[in-house]
């Protein structure tokens, strides 16, 4: 009897805990999602209403801001620039980073620890402190206002993260698997491409997303190393929307919504793969 009662009490506790958790989750969601909600609402509200009496609920929905964005403003160009720069950086980072991480995780060579430390040290420089030297360097290479002029600095900043995360995750893949593949007849390259790489996909996706988001959001380098709208990326383009006498909030927020969409889509797409990858080994039959 007593144990039955305590079990009921326990179950009650469990249920209460679940409600508290759900409540906390809702609060957190409101907190993080409200700015997005507001951006969407505001981007659909006419300027007049936006400046006079902004409301949380759109009374009148218009597409003017979006039309302006893709008409007068030519927002397609910065989106294209951002996609090229962020995409290329991500691909290069993953390609080089995976190989470096494989070497650091699997091969025996002298000076591994110093190399790891050195890679990490690169991230310690504040961006602002290297903008000027980088500018001079890029100018002498005639890379100012070009895609490589952005991709290369981005890679130096994104690579340490890639290498560290991937080294860690490759170390967690049992060495036995590659050894089994070797004994089965695989060369080192085959064991890398057929065994290690497929198993590293979840962490590749994670680091890929992080690198892409970093490049997508990066502002300081993009502002410093581009000259005109031809090569400007999304954050720079949005920042330069504001004129001398007015701030076109409607258009800025419309641009923000447009800029968020691809990242959100990508995260949602890859998230399923990441979760898949993480749970594949955990399900025991």
């Amino acid at each position: 009897m007593e144990s039955g009662a305590s079990r009921v009490a326990q179950r009650g506790q469990f249920r209460a805990g679940k409600w508290i958790f759900a409540g906390a989750l809702v609060v957190l969601m409101l907190f993080t999602l409200f700015p997005f909600y507001w951006a969407i609402v505001a981007s659909l509200t006419p300027d007049a209403a936006l400046f006079r009496n902004p409301s949380l609920w759109p009374h009148q929905i218009i597409g003017d801001h979006y039309r302006a964005l893709f008409g007068d403003r030519d927002f397609i160009t910065p989106i294209r620039n951002s996609l090229i720069v962020a995409g290329t950086t991500t691909i290069f980072c993953l390609a080089v980073g995976t190989l470096a991480a494989y070497a650091l995780a699997r091969l025996d060579f002298k000076g591994k620890a110093p190399i790891m430390a050195f890679i990490l040290a690169v991230t310690m420089f504040p961006q602002i402190s290297i903008v000027s030297p980088l500018y001079l360097l890029l100018r002498s290479l005639h890379l100012i206002d070009t895609y490589p002029g952005l991709i290369m600095p981005y890679m130096t900043f994104a690579m340490p993260l890639t290498v560290w995360v991937l080294t860690g995750s490759i170390r967690q893949i049992p060495r036995d698997l590659e050894e089994a593949a070797h004994v089965d007849g695989a060369t080192r390259r085959q064991s890398f491409t057929k065994i290690l790489l497929p198993l590293a996909v979840p962490s590749l996706a994670t680091t890929g997303i992080l690198t892409f988001i970093y490049c997508w959001n990066e502002f300081l380098f993009a502002l410093s190393f581009t000259l005109g709208p031809e090569r400007q990326t999304v954050p720079v383009a949005i920042a330069l929307f504001r004129g001398q006498y007015q701030v076109p909030w409607g258009e800025i927020l419309a641009a923000a919504v447009v800029a968020t969409a691809p990242v959100a889509a990508m995260v949602l797409f890859f998230q399923r793969r990441i979760v898949q990858g993480l749970t594949a080994g955990a399900v025991k039959g």
């Binding site: 050894e179 089994a180 070797h182 004994v183 089965d184 007849g185 695989a186 198993l199 399900v283 039959g285």
Partner: protein
């Protein structure tokens, strides 16, 4: 099928750890050779050297007549079953089985045929489209085995393949392995730390300690004529009792004196000096009569472990030393009882106290010479 031979192999790791020292060892064609030893004995390293996963520091490795010392694992044409099975988690059972054949670019039809045959013989038919994560421990074990068999390699290497299974499954799989070995007639090298597994499975057993080969012999030879004190203590359970003492000679008669024990022993040309007398628990007889004299010891029973068909009796000797004896279930022996232990003369082993080497060199059982008085 082919033999695997190590010739004067040394393996020293960069940190100075020596895993194999001047090791010469051969698994003959079609033989199941068991490598056994405590952890750190280098047995797994020896297996990895055979597989090519580690490079020798010195010496030669042959598979068949081919010198494979400098060949990477993929060119040695051997199969290995890992302790944790090392199944490829992202592939189905079918893909796991077919991996080695696919890598070697075998024709599709042949792969399907072999995978089908092996899956059928191991009872994996119904599991072919599952991923390893969806299999039980025993099923994974069979997939690992199947992955080795399907390639029809020159030889098989097993690295403690049963250690992750529960006791019952372990015994079943051991029998299965034995059957498989007979069926395939394949050369197999099998690493284990479990001496009973070694005794039941091996055609021959190689005992390793700290990278040095102690003895290679058939299970019965190893048990009856251990080459040294280490082998004697490692093989057999419960372990052999050792009594420190002195070997004395009086004409044709030799005698061991130590603890409270005096017993005649067979004479050998080299007899004399400090020795260890080794007696297996089976050869210590517990009596409650008050016999005294040669070949008897007095002691107090410490712990009794009933095993069903027998009981293992731990006896504390007057000097504080301990002796382990196996006694029949009846009469029951209780803790605290004072007992007399009689040493059966046919079960005596003598080891040099310093080198640990076996002194007697003849086959048991034998009739030891009686001392005249």
């Amino acid at each position: 099928m082919a033999r695997i031979a190590l010739e004067h192999v040394d393996k020293t790791y960069p940190n100075g750890y020596v895993a194999a020292r001047d090791l010469s060892l051969e698994a003959m064609d079609g033989e199941l050779l068991v490598l056994v030893g405590p952890s750190g004995s280098g047995k797994s390293t020896v297996l990895r050297l055979m597989a090519g996963l580690e490079r020798v520091s010195d010496g030669v490795i042959r598979i068949g007549e081919r010198d494979v010392t400098d060949l990477p694992p993929q060119q040695r044409d051997i199969a290995m079953v890992f302790q944790n099975y090392a199944l490829y988690p992202h592939m189905t059972v079918r893909e796991n089985l077919a991996f080695g054949l696919n890598i070697r670019k075998q024709p599709r039809a042949l792969i399907d045929e072999r995978v089908g045959a092996v899956a059928a013989s191991l009872g994996l038919d119904a599991l072919l489209d599952r991923k390893p994560a969806q299999l039980s421990g025993g099923q994974r074990q069979r997939v690992a085995l199947g992955r080795a068999i399907v390639r029809e390699p020159l030889a098989f290497l097993f690295d403690e393949p049963l250690s992750n299974l529960d006791a019952q499954l372990r015994v079943e799989t051991r029998v299965e392995l034995s059957r498989l070995h007979r069926k395939l007639g394949a050369t197999m090298v099998y690493v284990t730390h479990d001496q009973s597994e070694a005794l039941t499975l091996g055609d021959r057993i190689a005992v390793l300690k700290e990278g040095v080969l102690q003895q290679v012999a058939t299970p019965m030879e190893l048990y009856d004529q251990p080459a040294n004190k280490f082998v004697a203590g490692f093989i057999g359970s419960p372990a052999m009792n050792f009594f420190k003492g002195v070997l004395t000679r009086d004409g044709d008669a030799c005698e061991f004196r130590g603890v409270d024990l005096v017993t005649p022993v067979p004479c050998e040309p080299t007899s004399g000096g400090a020795v260890f007398l080794g007696v297996r628990p089976q050869h210590l007889e517990i009596t409650s009569d008050n016999a005294t004299g040669e070949g008897t010891l007095k002691g107090e029973v410490g712990v009794v472990e009933p095993m069903g068909n027998e009981q293992i009796v731990y006896v504390t000797l007057p000097g504080g030393e301990r002796a382990v004896a196996i006694a029949p279930v009846r009469p029951r022996i209780t803790a605290g009882e004072r007992v007399t232990i009689r040493v059966r003369p046919e079960g005596l082993h003598l080891f040099d106290a310093i080198s640990g080497r076996r002194i007697t060199r003849f086959d048991w059982p034998l009739t030891p010479k009686r001392s005249g008085h």
